[in-house]
């Protein structure tokens, strides 16, 4: 069976097929696939026996449930007030310069997607960002370059 189908089936077995388990199932798909493709949303709908439009409508409501292709690592830089005041701009510039992509884009090798997000709740250690579920605080352009090059090395390139 195709891997997405079986993933969704397993998740539905684990959480249940009632409507209130839609979010955990979608989160489970994202953990493996990085984003919710049209195909996986239709499959989720089939598995849970609800209209695909409901799945799509719910997914698009939440900013962490991506419905467009994203890379293996999604970088979310906080842009809310304190981070914006404390040098988010320079951090973002350093990331763009290093990955050679603009905000909202994904690197050609499908590893990094760069996004901005609203308050992450680390205002006392601003600026902050998340790479997938990992949080990084007190960022400076130097620090962010170090963090990113670690991620790049993990993947055996550079």
């Amino acid at each position: 069976m195709d891997p997405i189908k079986s993933l969704i089936q397993n998740l539905a077995d684990q959480y249940g097929r009632q409507r209130e388990n839609l979010l955990p199932i979608m989160q489970g798909v994202i953990e493996r696939e990085n984003f919710l493709s049209e195909y996986s949303m239709v499959e989720i709908a089939r598995e849970m026996d609800i209209p695909a439009s409901e799945v799509y409508g719910t997914a698009t409501f939440y900013s962490f449930l991506e419905t467009k292709p994203t890379g293996k690592y999604t970088i979310r830089v906080c842009k809310t007030i304190t981070c914006a005041m404390k040098g988010k701009g320079q951090v973002l510039f350093a990331i763009q310069d290093m990955l050679k992509i603009k905000l909202g884009e994904t690197t050609p090798d499908n590893r990094f997607t760069l996004l901005e997000t609203n308050c992450l709740g680390w205002c006392h250690k601003a600026p902050a960002m998340m790479i997938n579920n990992e949080v990084y605080t007190d960022l400076t352009p130097e620090k962010v370059r170090e963090i990113l090059s670690d991620y790049m090395k993990q993947n055996g390139s550079i």
Partner: protein, 394 residues
């Protein structure tokens, strides 16, 4: 003037109390009515920002007749400038769990949820371990109560109680009409108590030390202590537990960098207080006789004179425009128009008097928006535009 400084530091919330088992087992030996009375006499009000009396909430839910009831801990802490709930859940999670179980005992609920925001996913594993240990103890003392962690997925509006319940039911997080209130019809239409993380911890303190100890702190109408998340232009950002009722002037003496121009109390949905009004402003719930009282979920953001208030407002409006759920027109269109409007005034495309039109728009939003998000945009907008009008124009 430095001698007027009188902030009262307190240490209840993060105090390490290893005896939660004892607190739980002795508390549930008392009658539910007794516990509700204890909470009511402590005058504890919700610490998420809205300030609804907690005892009354528990009472209403306990009186509601239903087969199933629920307890929800609201850990969808999304307000810009707040980060206290994360600290509570990582340092003293057992207090939150104990309080939820006691709430279950009082109201007759057998199930509880912790709605944790997606940004705090890294807390989930540790929290689940704590819950496993906690439920094991509940079984030992024959208390039937289960707790589940439910992860949010990055939506500020899900901190609104009814939106949170929609989300918990697997739907778009769009706020519901009220009434009915959650105490009557909450999660899946059943009576539900929904409390902020910090509120629950305060109930733990009250059950352990008695209502009087809590009541003796703070001022009239604003009893007890509160966690403050301090950020922005301050030499010591962080989380501090302080007595309610302090004057903003004292707060700025303690936390300001000497050049504080304004303080945003209560996050983007709260109020901005300019320097000249620090003296008259006190932190607490409405009802104080003199001066301005400012309720807050704990967010205190300081701005010094190097900051442009236009940029601050622009940032807030951008935030609201993105986080607005889009369900009701006043908020959906209002947030967009406010953002476009202040930019047009700044560019000179619109005359300065256009700001007054925008202020009227926020009044309309305050009156007609469905939930707290749309209603509270007026707070920061009017307090910034009225106090820093020239910065909006030039």
């Amino acid at each position: 003037m430095a001698n007027s400084y009188q902030l009262k530091r307190v240490d209840f919330i993060f105090r390490n109390e290893n005896d939660w088992e004892k607190v739980l087992s002795t508390t549930i030996k008392k009658k539910p009515q007794e516990l509700i009375n204890e909470l009511i006499s402590s005058e504890l009000k919700g610490r998420g920002g809205a300030g609804f009396p907690t005892g009354l909430k528990w009472k209403l839910t306990s009186e509601a007749k239903a087969e199933k009831k629920y307890v929800i801990c609201n850990a969808d802490e999304g307000e810009p400038g707040t980060f206290k709930d994360r600290e509570i859940l990582s340092k003293v999670p057992y207090k939150v769990l104990t309080a939820m179980a006691v709430c279950g005992y009082v109201t007759g609920a057998k199930e509880g949820f912790i709605y944790l925001r997606g940004e705090y996913k890294f807390l989930e594993e540790e929290l689940n371990k704590e819950i496993a240990e906690f439920e094991y103890y509940c079984k030992e003392i024959n208390l039937d109560f289960k707790i589940k962690v439910f992860m949010g997925s990055g939506a500020y509006i899900c901190g609104e109680e009814t939106a949170l319940m929609e989300s918990l039911e697997g739907k778009r997080g769009e706020p519901r009409n009220k009434p009915p209130f959650p105490t009557q019809a909450g999660f899946k239409g059943s009576p539900t108590v929904i409390n902020n993380v910090e509120t629950l911890v305060h109930t733990f303190t009250i059950f352990k030390y008695g209502a009087k100890k809590f009541y003796d702190l703070g001022v009239q109408y604003s009893r007890g202590t509160k966690l403050f998340s301090v950020s922005g232009d301050t030499p010591k950002p962080g989380i501090y537990e302080l007595e309610l009722g302090m004057s903003l002037q004292d707060f700025v003496y303690e936390f300001g960098d000497g050049d504080t121009k304004a303080v945003q109390v209560g996050g983007a949905s709260g109020f901005l207080v300019p320097r000249k009004k620090f003296k008259d402003a006190a932190i607490g719930f409405k009802g104080k006789l003199t001066g301005i009282s400012l309720p807050t979920g704990g967010s205190m953001m300081l701005f010094n004179s190097s900051r442009s208030m236009f940029n601050v407002l622009d940032n807030y409006l951008e935030f609201f425009r993105e986080e607005c759920c889009g369900q009701c027109t006043p908020c959906r269109v209002g947030c967009q128009q406010l953002l476009l409007g202040i930019k047009a005034v700044k560019r000179g495309d619109k005359p300065a008097s256009y700001l007054d039109k925008l202020l009227r728009l926020t009044e309309t939003m305050q009156l007609t928006a469905k939930c707290g998000l749309g209603q509270s945009v007026a707070n920061s907008f009017s307090s910034i535009v009225e106090n820093f009008r020239e910065e909006m124009i030039y």
